[in-house]
């Protein structure tokens, strides 16, 4: 027993290294040469880029100097769990047990892929679902072309560079031309190591006229020290491809969750995307949809529900580069206790992107006197034949609605729950992929029960 205790002490020495050059060099040491070069290049960009301050418009409401203390974080040191569900935490297993039909599963625990499976009928047709770390050697051509290059290069920003130099693992999903997945691919992430910084990347390539659905759930218990999860999500929807992407973040308090997401859409490509943010102490999402081909169509949905002192910052942009493309964004949130939300969304229509249809809506429901939401919608239009609109609302529960429901016998708390779940549920109903509606609704109801709406 004494030896075991001594073993547990050992990782402390590794921890002292924090997130410095040594960690990057150690990771690069395991990389193929092309990747090691890129990692070191990302490090140089990181060092040359200042940490974004609240002086920047995009970071005005989220003060990184207060909310993200990189010096206190360490690289994860825990051993990877075996590919055996019996060895996994109960919450991870029960979440997966609820998953409905899926064509493949991938499980990450503390940033490392511990399990992958994809239907044999799909892998024989060239569909790839694998760990990004393995893909670096097994699918180098694909990664060299797409990983941290056209979508989220390290030049994008300080946090993007940080991810590009420190990522340890992630997901590669490739669907060849014309192949259509009949059910979603399910990715489940579990985090447990408190005080660690987790960096992962997701690369999804939907080749021409292919179809895929991807559901990514992240969860953990609460952390007693600040913990970071950083994700870079790169999605390529080639000509005529149809991509459905759902992310449900239910990470525990104490975490800072950053997700950088960029989707590039080719000609006649379709994207349906839903970001659900329920967990973490601080959530920052940088979403960018780039409509590069005419006829491209993107539906961007978002939902957040804050309680306690949670902070959400959604920073979205819809870039219309090609003419005759459409984008429609709807983000809805409810805020209880002293939680806060910022929504900053911009529609940019490039010169020459005529016949653009672009819409952006953000709606917030404030459930407590101490909660707050700020909405900053924006249009930058450089073409003259376009249909664009944006709108944002911040409101409270409507007393007439509550009275109506109470006049049928519902208690005030039941009435409030019904109205809030209805308000947010409309977003979920627009992309009801396997089981997520039920899971998210349950979490929202749980949050409402814990609050003053019990």
């Amino acid at each position: 027993m004494v030896e075991v205790v001594a073993d547990r002490v050992a990782p402390e020495q590794k921890k002292s290294g924090a997130l410095d050059r040594g960690v990057v060099e150690r990771l690069a040491g395991d990389d193929p040469e092309w990747l090691a070069t890129r990692r070191m290049q990302a490090l140089r960009i990181y060092e040359a880029t200042p940490m974004p301050s609240t002086q920047l418009e995009e970071w005005r409401y989220t003060d990184l100097s207060r909310k993200l203390c990189l010096d206190k974080l360490h690289s994860p040191v825990a051993e990877a769990l075996p590919d055996d569900p019996q060895a996994w935490p109960e919450r991870l297993r029960s979440t997966m047990a609820e998953d409905h039909d899926a064509v493949g599963h991938l499980v990450l625990v503390d940033g490392s892929v511990v399990h992958t499976n994809i239907g044999a009928h799909l892998s024989s047709r060239g569909v790839v679902l694998t760990s990004l770390r393995r893909a670096a050697t097994e699918h180098p051509t694909l990664l060299e072309k797409y990983l941290a290059t056209q979508a989220i290069p390290p030049e994008d920003g300080k946090l993007q560079a940080l991810n590009a130099m420190l990522w340890t693992d992630g997901v590669l999903l490739y669907v060849p031309p014309g192949v259509r997945l009949e059910h979603p691919v399910r990715v489940t992430r579990w985090y447990s190591e408190t005080g660690a910084a987790f960096f992962s990347r997701t690369l999804i390539v939907a080749d021409s006229a292919s179809k895929l659905a991807y559901v990514d759930e992240a969860l953990s218990d609460d952390f007693d020290q600040e913990t970071l999860t950083s994700q870079a999500v790169e999605v390529f929807a080639s000509d005529g491809a149809h991509v459905q992407y759902v992310s449900a973040q239910r990470i525990g308090r104490g975490a800072f969750c950053h997700a950088a997401q960029r989707i590039l859409l080719g000609r006649d490509a379709t994207l349906d995307m839903l970001n659900v943010s329920l967990g973490a102490s601080t959530t920052r999402v940088d979403l960018n949809a780039r409509l590069l081909g005419s006829g491209a169509d993107s539906n961007l949905l978002g939902l957040y529900f804050g309680d306690g002192d949670q902070h959400f910052d959604h920073n979205t942009s819809q870039d219309h580069i090609a003419p005759a493309a459409r984008s429609d964004l709807l983000y809805k949130g409810a805020l209880d206790d002293s939680s806060r939300a910022v929504f900053r969304g911009v529609i940019r229509v490039a010169e020459g992107a005529q016949q653009t249809d672009a819409y952006q809506t953000n709606r917030n429901l404030i459930l407590s006197d101490n909660a707050r939401a700020d909405a900053l919608p924006k249009l930058e239009i450089h073409a003259d034949d376009v249909k664009c609109s944006h709108g944002a609302t911040v409101g409270q529960l409507d007393e007439e609605s509550l009275f109506y429901l109470m006049s049928r016998g519902l208690t005030r708390a039941q009435a409030e729950r019904l109205v809030v779940v209805g308000f947010l549920g409309m977003v979920l109903q627009r992309l009801p992929l396997g089981g997520v509606v039920e899971k998210v609704t349950r979490v929202i109801e749980e949050k409402l029960r814990l609050g003053a709406h019990a």
């Binding site: 049928r408 016998g409 039941q414 779940v421 209805g422 409309m426």
Partner: protein, 262 residues
Amino acid sequence: MSDTTILSIENLHVKVADEGLAILKGVDLTLPGGEVHAVMGPNGSGKSTLAKVLTGHPGYEVVAGTVVFDGRDLLELEPNERACAGIFLAFQYPVEIPGVSIANFLRTAMQSRLVEGEELDLFDFQDLLLDRMNLLDMDVSFAERPVNDGFSGGEKKRNEILQMAVLKPRLALMDETDSGLDIDALKVVAHGVNTLRCEDPTMSVLLITHYQRMLDYIRPDVVHVMVDGRIVRSGGPDVAVRLEEEGYAMLREADARTVVQM
């Protein structure tokens, strides 16, 4: 007051909350169980306010008077407690609740009537809902639509009666349910209400309306005429007929004479 009295209103004075504006200025009304009473009167006389006050709307403040419902002090109860005690208001302007289906809403309302820990039998509920939609000539898909969201005026009124038929109140308050209904829809609604009264002969109805035509389909036992916050006349169905013919002007004169006599 007889033993069968379900609702007894005495000297009820009501003003708009946070304002001085008095709306009800001493309403007296007694409603025996199982009877249908109509309240008629010109715009602004306080008919709708009376219905909302009985339901517990927070926008009004009771200044004086008593309301006893089924032996209980109604004014002490929260709106949801009044509903569970058996009061139902068919709203003049039903509220839209986006994202909440009628079925889910009614299931929650039924569940709220059960004692703590008791679970609603979902099969029984489904049967009841289907039966009631059938009674009101409604398509089954109606139950999955969000409450009043995007409904036409007639659909909203019909939805009110559907809720009434599912929740089976002891006292139904109907606030201008006839407005916005064409004659066919009015017949369907009246048939629904009359069926509920057959099923439960002790159910009482307080029917607020401007027009005699509603009373052709739901026959009142008593018609009350409200003017300027008071019931100025009560009588049999013939009162409604006379009102339709002669208008309210005659009553105002009658009211003025009453005041003079005092």
